[in-house]
């Protein structure tokens, strides 16, 4: 779901023409004085459900589920609540999506609220993905844009109709501004005052969407909706869920991927004060206790014998050797134009390079966790920072032996994800459900990961090896490019495989190479799967997290070989890609790219599109012996219409920081199948002293908006790598950077 193949671009919905609405596409229901508007996504079932559920107010209290398919709720207290179908794990969708609604509604920003939607694919489908509800691929704003504009515009029209009814004036004479409706006679009313009456109005057959030039909120600085609750300790994350009589569970997973439990001696564990139960599930052995401390002590006291007969037993060096062997053979073809092999054989200047990329943990600040509680009627409530609610609902239901409608998912703030909370098999929900099923189910259970569980727990960005050869033509362009990638597919064997595989190639493994924008007449891209019991997953920017480094460092090598300025060299090959050109020129200009730098300093550039957002970066570095300090990163981003420029800047800052941290020193390695790293002392995150000054520039655009959560990651490593080359003449190709190789530079 992160790949472009699933990201169908919407029609450019930016003209101020009245947008025809199927009457049944807009749903409304009044009740308890609230106006509720939703846009039907597909089919008639949601409408029927909405009608059947009509009249019940969406109470803003925990435990009371919001009514299905309501995107907008206007309450008598004058708050406007947007039901957000996506998880906010920091990227700011609970600010961005309400901004879209508020804009079309002409609401005041201060009256906007956000609430996470329940699990229901019929109602809260991600329209980029297919029939599931989920967050990823930087798709939240992109797939909600039209949906929420219509929802906001319809609510506004119904409020006006209510005012017309009340005031007996023509609709054309009613104005709406900052949450207040007015008539020239002096009459005025707030949204809250008219909410009940508006709910009685017919749904408009068509709505008029604003001309972007009339936007008053979109494109302006608005505070994040969560800027207060996240600074005073009151924001509730999944780890903060407390249910009456709740047990805390920690799970001892196999020490090697692919291992299983052979035998368990839990006598010592059960003797720990506070330990209540020890249960064995397919995923490992769980200790349930009165609190986290007791649970952890109990787990430390377990004696488990593992069956490693099907486990990964290799060390990292052996894996890499296997990858290199594969790379010496033909792989499945991901892209082909002309005859790259023939052209390479007959070209003059050929550049060869190889890159290795390690397994990477996501390491969100809040470790994975979820709580389950069984209700008196045999249904279940799950509390989590749920990123794929409908998948997790299905997995939990199947494990607990109930139908999905018996599983409610209550989504709360998530302390980061970077891809980790979204899994094709709902992994930690499955673990929790399996543990619950092994108990008498009388007490709620909170399954928590420790940091060690997180770092050692797999679902890593896969290890990759790239072998490349490219040749210049006589005009300073690129004659040929041959690229082989070896790395594990995390799509294979999942429900996503049929969609993500194209002619035997996992699109997420080769994205960013197979579809690179540069004009290259002879191109061959091949991929080998490298299966292993080690579990892997998308990691912020997915395939782009390695392909951008390989492509953009190779481009720098080629520019150098052609004795060209790296920006000019790229521009000449990007003639049909104006948005790449736009960000590249802007970043270069703002950074003063090409200026003379003192000895030991250098600038490097990279440009990369991911998830239909275009980002260019220029890194300024200072190198002293083998110490590299990244001083500044100048970023230009084109993500279509900028909804909230400050959130865009924040995501560029954060994306660059996340990518930089990994490039500087993160890797998961194996010693005979055992992960070497365990916590933040051995998997060291970026710290404040590593953080460069970041300067973000947003390209003005009238294109439909696209996401910003991931696209800030890919260009940072190659920009830094190219800057180090400019400073030292030495190449840092593989990640994490081998700074020792710079000694004596």
């Amino acid at each position: 779901m992160y790949a472009k193949t699933m990201l169908r671009r919407p029609e450019a919905d930016r003209l101020p023409v009245p947008t025809a609405l199927n009457r049944r596409d807009i749903l409304k229901a009044g009740g308890a004085g609230a106006l509720v508007i939703g846009v039907l996504i597909r089919g008639g079932r949601a409408y029927a459900e909405e009608a059947a559920g009509g009249g019940k107010a969406i109470a803003p209290v925990a435990g009371d589920p919001p009514r299905p398919n309501a995107f907008v709720r206007i309450a008598p207290d004058n708050t406007v609540t947007v039901i957000v179908k996506h998880l906010d794990k920091g990227q700011g969708v609970t600010t961005g999506l309400p901004t879209i609604v508020a804009e079309e509604l002409d609401a005041d920003w201060g009256q906007m609220r956000a609430e996470f939607a329940p699990a229901n694919a019929q109602l809260y489908n991600n329209t980029d993905f297919g029939p599931i509800q989920g967050t990823g691929g930087s798709s939240s704003v992109h797939n909600s844009w039209t949906q929420l504009r219509k929802a906001g515009a319809a609510a506004r029209a119904m409020l006006i109709a209510a005012a017309v009814d009340e005031w007996k004036v023509p609709a054309t004479e009613v104005t709406v501004e900052k949450g207040v409706l007015r008539h020239k006679s002096g009459k005025q009313a707030t949204f809250g005052e008219l909410a009940a009456k508006a709910a009685q109005q017919p749904v408009p057959p068509e709505v008029h969407l604003k001309d972007p030039k009339d936007f008053t909120l979109i494109g302006t600085k608005l505070h994040r909706i969560d800027h207060i609750v996240k600074t005073n300790g009151t924001a509730i994350y999944a780890l903060d869920i407390r249910r009456p009589n709740m047990l805390t569970a920690v799970l001892q997973r196999p020490t090697r991927f692919g291992g299983t439990v052979k035998s368990v001696d839990d006598k010592a564990a059960r003797a720990i004060k506070g330990v209540v139960d020890v249960v064995t599930v397919p995923q490992g052995v769980a200790v349930l206790a009165e609190n986290t401390w007791a649970a952890r002590q109990g787990r430390d006291a377990l004696k488990i014998e593992w069956d490693d007969s099907k486990a990964e037993m290799r060390s990292s060096a052996e894996m890499l050797a296997d990858y290199k062997k594969l790379a010496a053979t033909r792989g499945s073809i991901a892209a082909k134009a002309g005859d790259a092999e023939q052209a390479l054989g007959s070209s003059g200047k050929v550049v060869k390079a190889e890159f290795t990329f390690p397994y990477l943990a996501h390491a969100p600040m809040e470790p994975l966790n979820a709580t389950v509680e069984r209700a008196a009627d045999g249904s279940y409530d799950f509390y989590a920072g749920s990123q794929f609610p409908t998948i997790e609902q299905a997995v939990a239901a199947a494990t607990l032996g109930v139908t999905p409608d018996k599983v409610r998912i209550k989504t709360v703030w998530a302390g980061g994800s970077f891809g980790r909370r979204a899994t094709p098999n709902g992994d930690y929900f499955g673990e929790l459900a399996a543990i619950m099923a092994k108990t008498d189910q009388k007490r709620p259970i909170h399954l928590v990961y420790t940091r060690e569980d997180d770092i050692k727990g797999g679902r890593y960005r896969p290890m990759f090896y790239h072998a490349m050869e490219a040749a210049l033509d006589t005009n300073g362009g690129i004659a040929a490019w041959h690229h082989r990638l070896v790395g594990q597919s995390f799509m294979k064997g999942t429900a996503f495989e049929p969609v993500m595989f194209k002619e035997g190639v996992d699109a997420t493994a080769v994205e960013g190479v197979a579809d690179m924008p540069y004009a290259i007449p002879n191109l061959l891209v091949e991929w080998h799967d490298a299966p292993s019991p080690v579990s892997t997953l998308w990691w912020r920017s997915v395939g782009h997290s390695h392909t951008a480094q390989a492509v953009e460092v190779m481009m720098d090598d080629l520019a150098h070989a052609a004795a060209k300025n790296p920006v000019d060299f790229r521009l000449a090959l990007l003639k049909d890609h104006p948005r790449h050109v736009g960000v590249l020129k802007l970043a270069a200009e703002k950074a003063g790219f090409g200026k003379t730098m003192p000895a030991g300093q250098g600038q490097g550039v990279a440009v990369h599109e991911s998830f239909n957002t275009y980002v260019a970066m220029v890194a300024d570095v200072t190198v002293k012996d083998s110490n590299v300090k990244v001083d500044r990163i100048t970023i230009a981003v084109d993500c279509g219409i900028p909804i909230n420029p400050d959130v865009i800047r924040a995501q560029m800052e954060g994306g660059a920081g996340y990518g930089l941290g990994a490039a500087l020193r993160n890797q998961i390695t194996f010693d005979k199948g055992i992960v070497d790293q365990a916590n933040f002392d051995t998997y060291e995150p970026l710290r404040m002293s590593d953080m460069p000054v970041i300067d973000v520039h947003i390209v003005p655009s009238a294109e439909a908006p696209t996401g910003v959560g991931e696209p800030g990651v890919p260009p940072v490593a190659p920009a830094v790598s190219n800057a180090v080359f400019a400073a030292t003449g030495k190449r840092l190709r593989s990640l994490p950077f081998d700074f020792d190789s710079l000694k004596g530079a």
Partner: protein, 151 residues
Amino acid sequence: MISLKINGSTHALDADPDMPLLWAIRDLLNMTGTKFGCGIAQCGACTVHLDGQPVRSCQTAISDAAGHEITTIEGVNGKVAQAVQAAWQELDVVQCGYCQSGQIMSAIGLLSQTPKPSDNDIESAMDGNVCRCATYGRIRAAIHDAANRLA
């Protein structure tokens, strides 16, 4: 029984004296503003004040915390705390927000000791607080902003 004074209130706990203060606060007293991030004092998410000094509650046994004034994010007050929180809000520092209780507790500790910190002072005081969203630039700016508010 171990007696802990947290945010001005005294709590008597029947718990393992070696239990880290973090788990007593979060699991026994259900005050969840203080976060668990690593458990080995490498990330600072669990930072609280002990007699006004920032400490990592994941590495502070409750037996060692007894007899001291413990302050958590829920209990901070005074002009330094207000200035820090206002600066955090004004600059929209937070993303996922999970580390920010700890960041704010460290920042309050810094500004209480050093009202006009340099960039180096800020790095020294804050380098132990990890933010995986990499909001570091804004944290630095917010600390300067808070210092200006207090000046």
